[in-house]
């Protein structure tokens, strides 16, 4: 079902093979420990009280009755967390504001969405903790609320923050609004471009918020000791991020908080922030007991994630020969209850696959009474791509051109300028489209009510800070301690790269995810960065080890270090001493460690640069049932430039998983609210993610155009694949029915209504 297309060949021994992952066995025997699987003696259960209202001012909170219930050991509210300064910190794309963050952990002045955390208790059993929540009395003044992004932008909309002045507008508006930020990017002269075009197409689109839908709800265990030190075990994409956020929110020294990466049961961006960790730490501090908190699925839906819903308009101007001469996009993204939706990414990624001389994108970050959005796989890009790639299809139809041909004609090649001011310096986009075009399914005949749709997608991919230490053992094996939580098999890819570099067997390398006190700082597992950036730091550490191994061999041979080289897993005498001694293996040198200078280990910490953008091109075949509006996915083919597939099975897995999430986004998934702003479908029965019988085998094509900036050519793989599916499905539906759907999800009632409107 999967195919690999390799561009330049390179001799590699273990990279590109498919060994069993080093952490595999405990995961199939039930012994691996996830966030909810840790216990300590004297442990209490923590539970969180949540707002029943979408928008309400909080008068007073009376916890006395809860406090008095036998078995209750601590009750906390926002008053137990220090106030934070209002400021946006860090790069704009991922800026954080602790004033907002602490209010999302526990509400202060107002409850801003149904499910907003208000107070928390720790008790000797789950049942007592739940009982105690019912005894907390909160005095709410219910306020008018707003859910939809277009409504939230109306001048008379209820305001979440009475003092919020839109950023990015000069001069700043006098009146507050729900628009947190306006962003604009420009390249060339859009007006001129449209004026010169042979044809212009334009359409508007809407999408609903969708949840990351990881199967493991957030969970953690915290222990706070009377000397002010604490330890946390939690399910997160970055235990260093847990440490940074939690220490700041609780008000403790970073060195006093030791965070462990539990095995993580899926995340997709949703576990790059904290919800329960600071609460558990403070409950533990107050009670003097370890505290465990597990979110319920309903809490996960109502109070974590999702990604934005949006309202968007796209215009594309084309020439009859297929050249795009102008493109424009307006993107209004819901941020949820606090600012910082991924609209900036949407503005940057929407037209990034193409070389277009005149582009303008305009974005609005808008708050409304729903959970604060969090990253979801290629955050922001799939939303804007749904609009942009649907409009690309309209343009190709307008001039009567094959959709892959049309994209190839405009594809960005090295040297192309992006709307956000960078120059593309990596190949791979055109190769990926060509690989897709060559798939035999692309020209296969279609039956009645069937259609085929194409779409492409761009994602930046990440680099950033990573650390690792390689320890050489006396029997010639090695342990790699690194700082990236492993969500989808990264320990396997790390071990493969270490084995390749050291010249030893894959099975001789054992990677571990070390806690925050045992390895250097490492950013979260996100942005498709781990195999690239953590891989690079592991390779650096391995190279230092090799250098040391050569020094040890020099010592054994009593020659100059300069006369020893490393080849094929062995130290060899070289230069003037070439051939004088038998080469020494990794194992032989390791065995002589004590005599040659003691323990052999090396660390590396880097801020990795040189990541290459991810690109995915896909087509799908659908069949639309004219009686029910049900859209069946018949075939789905996804090509992606993976740079170099370190462990091809896990690369395929990323593509297969990303595409199926995209199919859910396209066809089923949405947050549904009643008129009071209550989510009506906070469970997997009514928020329906794809099940095994909904989808066919996803056919992945791994296109390998190596990244010259990585020792093994790695490009991030995890995210670009979720960018195209929504538009690919919409484009296929148009091909099957002649109807253009612009509203996600394209669920049976909507498809049927569209079909009926034509009858």
């Amino acid at each position: 079902m999967a195919e690999t297309i390799v561009y330049p060949e390179r001799e590699l021994k273990v990279i590109g093979t498919r060994p069993v992952r080093p952490d595999g066995v405990p995961k199939v025997t039930g012994l691996a420990q996830y966030g909810a699987d840790f216990n300590l003696p004297g442990m209490l259960w923590g539970k969180i009280l949540r707002s029943p209202h979408a928008h309400a001012r909080i008068g007073s909170i009376d916890t006395s009755k809860a406090q008095a219930l036998p078995g209750v050991k601590a009750v906390i509210t926002a008053a137990d967390l220090p106030e934070q300064k209002f400021e946006y910190l860090g790069p704009e794309r991922v800026a954080v504001n602790y004033w907002h963050m602490t209010r999302n952990i526990l509400a202060r002045e107002k409850a801003l969405y149904e499910g907003h955390a208000i107070a928390a208790v720790a008790a000797t059993s789950k049942a007592i903790a739940e009982e105690a929540l019912k005894l907390i009395e909160v005095d709410y003044e219910v306020l008018p609320h707003v859910i939809d992004v277009d409504e939230a932008m109306q001048p008379d909309a209820p305001l979440l923050f009475e003092d919020m002045i839109t950023r990015g507008v000069e001069p700043p508006p006098a009146k507050p609004s729900n628009v947190s930020k306006r962003i604009e990017y420009k390249l060339g002269d859009v007006a001129k471009g449209f004026a010169a075009a042979d044809a212009v197409v334009e359409a508007s689109y809407k999408t609903k918020p969708v949840h990351q839908g990881y199967i493991e709800p957030q969970a953690c265990l915290a222990r706070y000791d009377s000397d002010g030190q604490a330890e946390v075990w939690s399910s997160s994409q970055g235990h260093f991020v847990v440490r940074t956020f939690t220490s700041r929110l609780v008000g403790m020294k970073v060195a006093d908080l030791r965070c462990h990466a539990a095995e993580i049961g899926g995340a997709f961006g949703g576990k790059t922030v904290v919800y329960v960790e600071p609460v558990a730490v403070v409950l533990s501090k107050k009670s003097g007991h370890p505290v465990k908190i597990m979110m319920s699925r309903e809490e996960v839906f109502k109070a974590t994630g999702p990604t934005s819903g949006a309202s968007m308009t796209i215009r594309i101007g084309v020439m009859n020969d297929g050249r795009i001469v102008a493109a424009e996009g307006v993107f209004k993204y819901q941020a949820g209850a606090f600012p910082q939706s991924p609209v900036m990414n949407g503005c940057m990624c929407s037209f990034a696959p193409y070389d277009i001389p005149n582009v303008r994108t305009l974005g609005f970050d808008v708050v409304s009474n729903r959970p604060k959005t969090v990253a979801y796989r290629a955050p922001g890009s799939p939303i804007s791509a749904f609009a942009a790639e649907s409009t690309m299809d309209l343009a190709a139809r307008k001039i009567g051109m094959d959709p892959i041909e049309f994209r190839l004609k405009n594809i960005a090649r090295p040297g192309a300028k992006t709307v956000f001011g960078t120059t593309l310096n990596h190949a791979g986009f055109a190769e990926t489209l060509q690989a897709l075009k060559k798939h035999p399914g692309y020209t296969a005949p279609l039956g009645k009510n069937q259609g085929r749709g194409v779409a492409a997608g761009y994602w930046f991919n990440g680099g950033g800070e990573s650390s690792a230490t390689v320890h050489v053992n006396e029997d010639g094996t090695a342990v790699v301690a690194e700082g990236s939580p492993d969500i989808g098999g990264s320990r396997a890819s790390i071990a493969l790269m270490a084995a390749e570099t050291l010249g030893i067997a894959y099975e001789s390398v054992r990677p571990v995810i070390a806690d925050t006190n045992s390895v250097g700082y490492t950013q979260a597992t996100g942005g498709s960065r781990v195999t690239f950036a953590t891989g690079m730091t592991v390779i650096n550490a391995c190279n230092k080890v090799i250098d040391e191994m050569c020094a040890r061999a020099a010592k054994l041979w009593k020659v100059d270090r300069a006369d020893v080289v490393w080849e094929d897993g062995h130290a060899r005498p070289a230069g003037k001493r070439a051939g004088e001694f038998e080469p020494l293996s990794f194992k032989a040198i390791a065995a002589k460690r004590t005599a040659t200078g003691g323990p052999i280990s090396a660390s590396a910490s880097i801020n990795a640069e040189g990541q290459a953008p991810g690109f995915s091109a896909q087509f799908c075949d659908v069949e639309v049932d004219p009686d029910t509006g049900y859209v069946k996915i018949l075939r789905f083919v996804a090509a992606q430039d993976v740079g170099r597939a370190i462990h091809p099975a896990y690369c395929e897995g990323q593509i297969e998983g990303g595409v199926v999430q995209g199919i859910g986004w396209a066809l089923n998934e949405e947050y549904i609210y009643d008129r009071d702003g209550h989510m009506e479908n906070p469970g997997f029965l009514d928020y329906r993610i794809p099940v095994a019988s909904d989808v066919p085998m996803i056919e992945s094509i791994l296109v390998e155009v190596p990244n010259p900036k990585h020792p093994y050519g790695v490009k991030g793989v995890a995210e670009a694949n979720i960018v195209p599916p929504m538009a690919a499905v919409a484009n296929a539906i148009e091909s099957a029915t002649g109807l253009r759907l612009t509203d996600l999800p394209m669920s049976p009632p909507k498809v049927l209504a569209a079909l009926d409107s034509r009858r």
């Binding site: 069993v20 025997t29 420990q33 699987d37 995340a267 990323q654 998983g657 997997f684 099940v691």
Partner: protein, 158 residues
Amino acid sequence: MAKHHVSALINGNPVEYLCDAQQTLLEVLRDELNLTGTKEGCATGDCGACSVTIDGRLVCSCLTLGAEIDGKAVQTIEGMATGTELHPLQTKFLELAALQCGICTPGMLVAAKALLERNPDPTEDEVRYWLAGNLCRCTGYNKIIEAVLAAAGEMRKG
């Protein structure tokens, strides 16, 4: 409120425990017996992460009360391997990369084993429909289906 006294066979071992009337089998397994291989994804019967068998029948342990188990035999993921020898399903899941995060894996394996006991030679469609109650958000299901079919083939060879 008095607790219920329950005697059951869990993974072939005689076990006795006390539980509250409202405690689910999932909670008993995880919180009382420290068998945390059975996972909670929803607690409402919608995800299959908590799949176990009771007297050979596949159930969601989150929809079963701990008190209902008296005199019954429960199999969980912890009982699937024989000592250090993995079940062919476990081996194929590892060889074919049928897990990414692995949180759905215990439930998938328990459910797949129940399928193969009834139908040793299922078609791809039969596997897909049998596992439709077990959600996986990571894999897109390809490799899970492939692993179940491969394990079935292996087991038919005997």
